[in-house]
């Protein structure tokens, strides 16, 4: 019994020690980067500061405690700016161009230019583009399999605007929240995925 208790205490102490060590290394990493990096072009030093969501994902290996995740996810959801005109479907042809474009937010990009969504970097989308990445899931026939009800349109708009409102530590950038894409651009991407005429649904 005593041995059992000791080993439990030992394990707990070890777990705490490990966590403390990781926190220590993380603090060193963060301080080191703030010392070693410099602002360049549009990429300012403020980008090294974690926001609340990033901090939680970083500290939990992208697997945050459920209660915290839900609360933060709710904050993200409430901050989504849906279109004032209540319309979500834009022009899928323009959406295809935005999905192809990879420009935006790096230190070599200019302020004020139209950004792309880099969508094909990670997703299979339309049938005519065979150079697509696999970090995200395939979006082929997205609308065909899910329909394009108003609820679905709103969901897709929200997901592109802020993927973290639906999955807190998702790999996907928050395209609306970060100011990468405009409301109109996001509408065009919604159309690319949901418009029955879009090649995605052929």
């Amino acid at each position: 019994m005593k041995i059992f208790q000791t080993s439990i205490f030992g394990a707990a102490a070890l777990a705490i020690a490990f966590t403390a060590q990781a926190g220590d290394d993380r603090a060193k990493a963060s301080a080191m980067m703030k010392r070693d990096f410099h602002a360049k072009g549009i990429a300012g030093m403020d980008r090294l500061n974690e926001d609340g969501l990033q901090a939680l994902c970083n500290r939990s290996h992208n697997n945050p405690p459920k209660a915290n995740a839900e609360r933060l996810q709710q904050d993200q959801l409430e901050a989504i700016k849906y279109p004032a005109d209540g319309k979500f479907l834009g022009d899928w042809k323009s959406g295809e161009k935005i999905a192809q474009g990879g420009r935006g937010m790096t230190w070599s990009d200019k302020a004020g230019q139209a950004n792309g969504g880099s969508c094909y970097n990670c997703h299979e989308i339309g049938p005519n583009e065979t150079s697509f990445g696999t970090i995200g899931n395939s979006l082929r026939r997205f609308g065909k399999t899910r329909g394009n009800s108003p609820q679905m349109q709103k969901y897709v708009f929200g997901k592109i605007y802020n993927a973290k409102a639906f999955n807190l530590c998702s790999n996907m950038p928050r395209f609306g929240h970060s100011g990468t894409l405009t409301e109109k651009q996001i509408k065009d991407l919604v159309a690319l995925l949901l418009d029955p005429d879009s090649p995605v649904n052929k």
Binding site: D36, H38, A43, R47
Partner: protein, 289 residues
């Protein structure tokens, strides 16, 4: 003209021909208006396979050798305000020992009280032995249309002297172990406009960006692939690049601000990656797509 230079020049002219052939092959499958997605995807991987074959053929006489030769000359020539060569530079195995040094870097150097990767150490030697200014060397540290910076050629030369040797990045000194741990934290650190960390792209098996395969650098297999790839002559653009460039351009695409050239941040990241690659035989500088 030394035989190595001659070989490199021959390799370059051969490369031009091979590139032209490769380009034709690459263009060919595009002609039929690929109706079926599957067929087109297959032709893409056929291009990849084609490039792999091409690389195997070319690596016996790689354009990297040209930079290796230039690096050797730079290493042995008296240069800088102190008019000294780099032959007394200690890369971790004692002054002047180059053979096997690259596969044992990054490591802790007591004289600088820092963990240093190959390029960071070479820059340190250029400053301390030759009298160059670190700030000047950091101004335009990457190969571009205006030329190949000296440290790039020097790293290529030093790396080539570890060809065929096992990667053995040390973890004996506490600072080396700390560099690994901090490097891992930097690797996993999500921030910036797009919430990316290194791991966003390099933390999972079998992923791609467009058609580019992404090594999972947290695993042995992926770390080996990355360690093996650099320094590399990159076909895109036709420049010789080192790991310093690779780290820099990854942070650009991560939407971060710019990391300092030859900084501790980069040394720690390279320690994390290098230790993960330990045990594998390094084949030397090569060709990149």
């Amino acid at each position: 003209m030394s035989s190595i230079k001659l070989r490199a020049v021959l390799a370059l002219s051969g490369l031009a021909l091979a590139c032209a052939a490769h380009a034709q092959q690459a263009a060919a499958p595009k002609k039929p208006a690929a109706p079926a997605k599957k067929a087109a995807t297959e032709s893409k991987s056929a291009i990849s396979a084609e490039f792999e074959k091409f690389r195997e053929v070319m690596e016996d006489a790689s354009p990297a050798e040209l930079f290796e030769a230039k690096g050797e000359e730079l290493w042995k020539t008296r240069r800088g305000p102190k008019n000294a060569s780099l032959e007394q530079c200690d890369l971790g195995l004692g002054p002047g020992v180059i053979k096997g040094a690259y596969v044992r870097l990054p490591r802790y150097f007591a004289d600088a009280d820092q963990v240093m990767d190959a390029e960071r150490r070479i820059v340190h030697c250029m400053v301390t032995l030759q009298g160059f200014k670190a700030a000047d060397l950091g101004k335009k540290p990457f190969s571009s249309g205006s030329g190949t910076p000296d440290p790039v050629s020097l790293v290529t030369y030093v790396a080539a002297q570890s060809r065929g040797m096992k990667i053995a990045v040390p973890q004996k000194h506490p600072r080396e172990r700390e560099a690994f741990n901090v490097g891992k934290e930097i690797f996993d650190y999500r921030a910036g406009a797009w919430d990316f960390s290194c791991a966003s792209c390099h933390g999972e098996e079998g992923k791609r960006i467009r058609t580019q395969d992404l090594p999972n650098l947290s695993t042995k297999k992926g770390a080996i692939a990355a360690f093996q790839s650099w320094p590399g002559y990159r076909m895109t653009g036709g420049f010789m690049h080192t790991l310093q460039w690779r780290m820099n351009d990854c942070f650009r695409q991560q939407r971060f601000p710019e990391p300092g050239y030859a900084s501790e941040t980069i040394a720690d990241l390279l320690t994390y990656m290098g230790v993960n690659a330990n045990g594998h035989v390094y084949k030397g500088p090569g060709i990149k797509r």
